[in-house]
């Protein structure tokens, strides 16, 4: 039976998309709580920065450059993590992209746009979870965490791949939770609202997000956007023994956004019918 203490001493945690944004901030939080971290993403320089931050916090860190949509690379990620760290306790499927797609009309979205959006945001989580599932099942212990989004529960104009994939992530969580329950593997998803992680993102993205931030906070019932640790601590809870009887759940940290539909605080947004960039 769990003791519900919630610390992460000696845990090995893999975080995909760990170079920037929420992935990096979760890596730092979990390292502070005693975990060793394997960070995987495509670009090496940001991964190295995250790894350095993990080591500063006293954790071991391993960098494995990985494109989560390439199953050969995904398999290699787990082989390497096991070889170097000795074991894996938690997989956090955090890799995802949102940039740019909303600038296009529906009829301009190419087959390739669609595939990339679904592959990175949904299929990658399946490939990584599948790769670790046998190992977790055999050792009768493990935790898989997925990153969904408030947009996985609601629609949004022109956000085809992202919203569709994130809704898929929510149900992938439930299916894996039910399938792996008998192997003592727990599967849950984290649902972030608007969270500021932009300082570790590319500059052009930072600029767009800074403009949106001012508008967005008006839609959040608590009156401000989230900070990275608002998600980091959810991850801590779900990685730790405090959540041992919890599976198939969605853990929402969004300042009350989904409870009210991002529009019930008296700040009902005026939306142009000609909206391009949201």
């Amino acid at each position: 039976m769990n003791e519900g203490k919630g610390t992460l001493e000696d845990k090995v945690i893999i975080i995909t998309g760990g170079g920037t944004g929420l992935g990096r901030s979760m890596a730092f939080r979990l390292a502070e709580e005693g975990a060793d971290i394997v960070v995987a993403a495509r670009r090496v320089p940001p991964l190295e920065e995250t790894a350095a931050g993990v080591r500063e916090r006293g954790g071991k860190a391993l960098v494995v450059p990985t494109d989560v949509t390439d199953t050969a690379q995904v398999d290699r990620l787990f082989e390497k993590a096991l070889a170097e760290m000795g074991k894996i306790d938690v997989l956090i499927n955090n890799a995802g992209i949102v940039r740019g797609e909303r600038a296009k009309s529906m009829w301009e979205i190419s087959d390739q746009d669609w595939r990339i959006g679904i592959d990175v945001n949904l299929s990658g989580a399946f490939y990584c979870s599948r790769a670790v599932s046998k190992y977790f099942a055999d050792r009768k212990s493990g935790k898989i965490i997925l990153l969904a989004s408030g947009e996985g529960f609601r629609g949004q104009r022109n956000s085809f791949m992202y919203n569709t994939a994130k809704a898929g992530v929510v149900n992938l969580t439930r299916v894996m939770a039910l399938t792996l329950a008998e192997y003592n593997v727990r599967v849950n998803c984290i649902v972030p609202g608007f969270v500021d992680t932009y300082d570790s993102q590319p500059e052009d993205y930072q600029k767009v997000m800074a403009e949106r931030r001012a508008t967005r906070k008006l839609f959040v019932p608590v009156g401000h956007t989230g900070k990275p640790d608002d998600i980091g601590y959810v991850a801590l809870f779900l990685c730790s023994d405090a959540s041992d009887y919890v599976t198939g759940g969605c853990f929402i940290s969004d300042g009350g956004g989904l409870a009210g539909g991002f529009a019930t605080t008296g700040y009902a947004p005026v939306v142009s019918l000609k909206e391009g960039l949201s």
Binding site: M1, N2, G4, K5, G6, T7, L8, E33, T173, R174, A177, L178, A181, E182, N184, G193, P221, V222, G223, G226, K227, D229, D230, Y233, V234, L236, F237, S240, D241, A242, S243, D244, Y245, V246, T247, G248, G249, F251, I252, S253, D254, G255, G256, L258, A259, G260, T264, T265
Partner: protein, 248 residues
Amino acid sequence: MTAKAFQIKGKVALVAGDSKLWTKPVAAALAGAGADIAIAAKSSPILTEAVEAVSKTGRKAIAIAIDVTKAAQVRKAVHQVIAEYGRIDILVNAGDIHFFRPFVKIKSAEWNKVMDYNFKSALNFCRIAGKQMLKQKNGRIINIVSGLAERGIANGSAYCVAMGGVLQMTRALALEWALKGITVNAIGTGWFTKSGQPIDETLARYIPVKRYGQPEEIGSLTVYLASDVTEFTTGQFMYVDGGLMAHA
């Protein structure tokens, strides 16, 4: 030791409502994470046991024996907590009496009883302790309900209505108090039993993790929602149910 991030050292928690399952483990878990505790429930061995469990952790505990269905007594209880501790940081509404009967056979008195213990107790504690939290500009309200707040079940109309009421109150208050420093969340419980008590093996097969929960397993999520790190989490309903609610 509870992880540092989840510790609630020196905070004051009021555990309210009559429940055979949740009162003691919730009070013990909050105390284990560093809070001083007040427990408001009817005079019973559960109240005594809960206070003993808190005392073992070295935190302060006061027992307030009241009829939780009476608003005047709830008011007195809340004022007693403020008088003794100076404030209320955390309110946990744990009221839970089970009642299942075909809809047409439920008597008015039975409806009233289920609503009183499972809904109105939480309502009155939120109203009265909420005032104090508004004054403090700070508070955590955690309502422990059943998964049946969200789902229906045959013969469970009264229970479902009462639990659903607490859940909807959770969501509405979360939004109403979102800018006041108070978070309001609900925990959805699945099938639980105290250790050593017999379980229905047939039912257990329907739980994805293939076992009943133990009441102690509610404690860690309660502590998490009571801690400082969840200030951006409000209006939410989270299950501790071994995967039960993830079923279609």
